[in-house]
Symmetry: C2
Subunit: 396 residues, 2 copies
DNA sequence: CGGCCTTTGTCCACTCAGTGGAGAAAGTGC
DNA sequence: GCACTTTCTCCACTGAGTGGACAAAGGCCG
């Protein structure tokens, strides 16, 4: 199917598209109230958008006491593909132009198998979603990868946990395969975008989004925009020193936060505790599955295992120490905690909060909410869809 | 004397004023090359600026092979006042509209004497500068204070080292006294603005400016703009934990960077070393002056005193540890070190560099210059002048 | 049902910022 | 003195945007 390739011709049209995306269908009249445009001008721009097909008029809005208005909405046939490649699994979702998730698949997959194998998988998942009827084709795709990205080109750079991905032209290649525009970004940044669009961060201009999964990263939003840094590695907080002369880390240093607390570190510490007989609960799980994961620790903690709880608390304290420093430095209006370990839930959150509120200055923490992300696994894919829609809804 | 109060009427005029400020006098023709405007439009806007008096035409430019062009420059009579209030001294300077320093005074002064006493001093210094003939009056003033500021209102908030300043309406009060527009900001942010305008950071969009004086702070520039944070306390890195269970700090925690390295901490450690007989050089200075300051440590180090050098190196290492974390997080394109301790010079810089390059990931440090600020004590006052000129050179 | 009100959508004359070309003004170089 | 270049001014023209008039469409109420 031939997809839309139109782009807004000017800033007014871009503004309208963003409004329709974020606030849903709207009447001409109400759009006129929000945008600073005369009715005439608005009518002209809306007509042009209708011509491009990006926007359609469907039915009449409810009366506000006079003539009923025609409803304007983004073309309901538009489809975005959101892909969130994690270290150990992939999420693929389809959204409409309002970024509502219409279909969502998740599969375990080791990112170390390399870009070719991963994208084969991603494309087959996308095909499966198409076959399920939620989409006939895609008008754009956003891709999140678990490592730094040279954003303008859409190419991963020196990703420590992604051997074989360095310099792989993700944007170029996927754009070819999918036949639509593609944007690539760090998965953490996309999680931040997702929470900003549809989650807890809707009303905040400056916030941090800490993702604790296999690794640890942090999305930075300044004045509503994602800060990616000079080389695209901003937010790479997993290798900030949390414990002087602590555990050795894959990066070559000692005491990195990631070496002390992350999905991988937690599994390692849990296995050690089990073997040392400090936790019957964990030992039972180790014997049953032949291995332990962060989920096992979460389950054991939920079952009241004190060793598991201690592991989570200590990790939260370490993470809180690092976040406290970032809060002093950046003075955000909100801190969001997300990622795979949100299963650890409020035990983790409480430990982080305690540490941050204790260690940062009152002026910075006084009115600082620290909350769990509310979108879970969909944050990444929604953020991915938003990334590409932001691109397509801007003048070329 | 009646001062100019005109402001640019639109974005084009603002653009022109900024160009004239940053690149100096210019011909109409050359301005036309830089701005995206037709000759006609440019002529109209320049004429209007001439009418306001913000800009004057003086003489003819050199020929470029044809008719000679009239030179356009910012009104050479415009004067900005830049005030940099430190913890232990005040800098006051007068600049022209191109932010060149025409006169500069410095006086020791304890900020804890409170706003009334300090501003009395500042006003008398400003009067002295006026009397010296560099200015007849001021068209605007920028003020830097050593603590967080609620920027839109120009009011210090909860400044730990500035008792008596909390909530004092600095902007309001000084605007009354001086009879001109005033803007207030954290001194560290102004140092960053200064280095951005006329120092080492001229070409960098994202950078950090670490000021080590009586305390430690960090100016954050994102995309060319200063990031002040949600409550104006961004960059307050002096209270990031550098040493677990380290020295107690005035803020109530232990191990804050500021408690281990800053002008005050360095003086304290030096005095202790002197009393313990570890450094004859420092002991001699202690005996001579009855006390020690950071400058004494610098002098002792310059004289080859190993204890003094060790103190500086250790402080640099601590600072480097914190900066390494910030570099991982923020991924700046440049780090500037400034403040009173730049007297410690390259010993300090080397220690910081070593630590940052060792502890941060190669992707973030690969092309990261870490340099000393090149403006010294004038960075703050130039930044202050720039703050107010940015304000006055923007449409009202 | 039929006025009378409100809201919505369309049309159109008018304003105003901005463009680009013509040509005068002011120099340079031979 | 003449040809050429650059600067500056003038002016007709374009095109975006405005705001008012008016038609269309519906609700409210006697």
């Amino acid at each position: 199917m031939r997809r839309m390739t139109a782009r807004p011709a000017n800033a007014h049209q871009a503004r309208l598209l963003h409004l329709l995306r974020d606030d849903g269908p709207n009447s001409r009249a109400q759009l006129g109230d929000r945008v600073e445009l005369s009715r005439s001008k608005l009518a002209v721009e809306v007509d042009r958008l209708l011509e491009t097909g990006l926007v359609v008029a469907d039915g009449l809005a409810a009366s506000r006491g006079g003539r009923r208005s025609h409803n304007i909405r983004l073309n309901p046939g538009l489809r975005f593909l959101g892909v969130d490649i994690g270290a150990t699994s992939v999420d693929v979702a389809v959204t409409n132009a309002e970024l509502e998730v219409l279909g969502h698949l998740n599969q375990p997959l080791d990112v170390r198998e390399g870009p070719v194998a991963v994208f084969e998988q991603v494309l087959s998942m996308a095909a499966k979603l198409r076959a399920s009827g939620v989409a006939e084709g895609f008008d754009g795709a956003g891709i999140g990868v678990p490592g730094p990205v040279r954003f303008p080109e859409g190419v991963p750079v020196a990703p420590p946990i992604m051997p074989g991905w360095d310099g792989f032209p993700v944007r170029e290649a996927l754009s070819q395969e999918l036949g639509c525009p593609v944007m690539v970004d760090n998965d953490v940044n996309l999680m931040a975008l997702g929470e900003q669009h549809a989650g807890v961060a809707r009303t905040v201009g400056d916030f941090l989004c800490v993702k604790i999964g296999t690794g640890i990263g942090c999305g930075i939003v300044v004045g509503g925009d994602v800060h990616r840094g000079t080389t695209g590695s901003a937010g790479d907080i997993g290798h900030i020193q949390a414990v002087p002369d602590g555990h050795p880390c894959v990066c070559g240093n000692r005491g990195c936060l990631e070496a002390h607390f992350s999905g991988a570190a937690l599994a390692r510490d849990a296995a050690e505790a089990a073997r040392q007989g400090r936790s019957p609960e964990l030992a039972a799980r180790l014997a049953a599955n032949g291995g332990l994961s962060a989920a096992d620790v979460a389950a054991a903690a939920a079952a009241g295992d004190t060793t598991a709880l201690d592991l989570i608390r200590e990790g939260g304290t370490r993470t809180g120490q690092v976040i406290a420093g970032l809060v002093s430095f950046f003075n955000p209006g909100l801190v969001v905690i997300g990622g795979g370990v949100t299963g650890l839930g409020h035990t983790l959150l409480a430990a982080i909060r305690t540490q941050v509120y204790r260690q940062s200055l009152p002026l910075a923490t006084g009115n600082l909410p620290i909350v769990l992300g509310e979108l879970g696994a969909t944050a990444g894919v929604i953020g991915a869809a938003r990334l590409i829609s932001d691109h397509l809804f801007s003048p070329a």
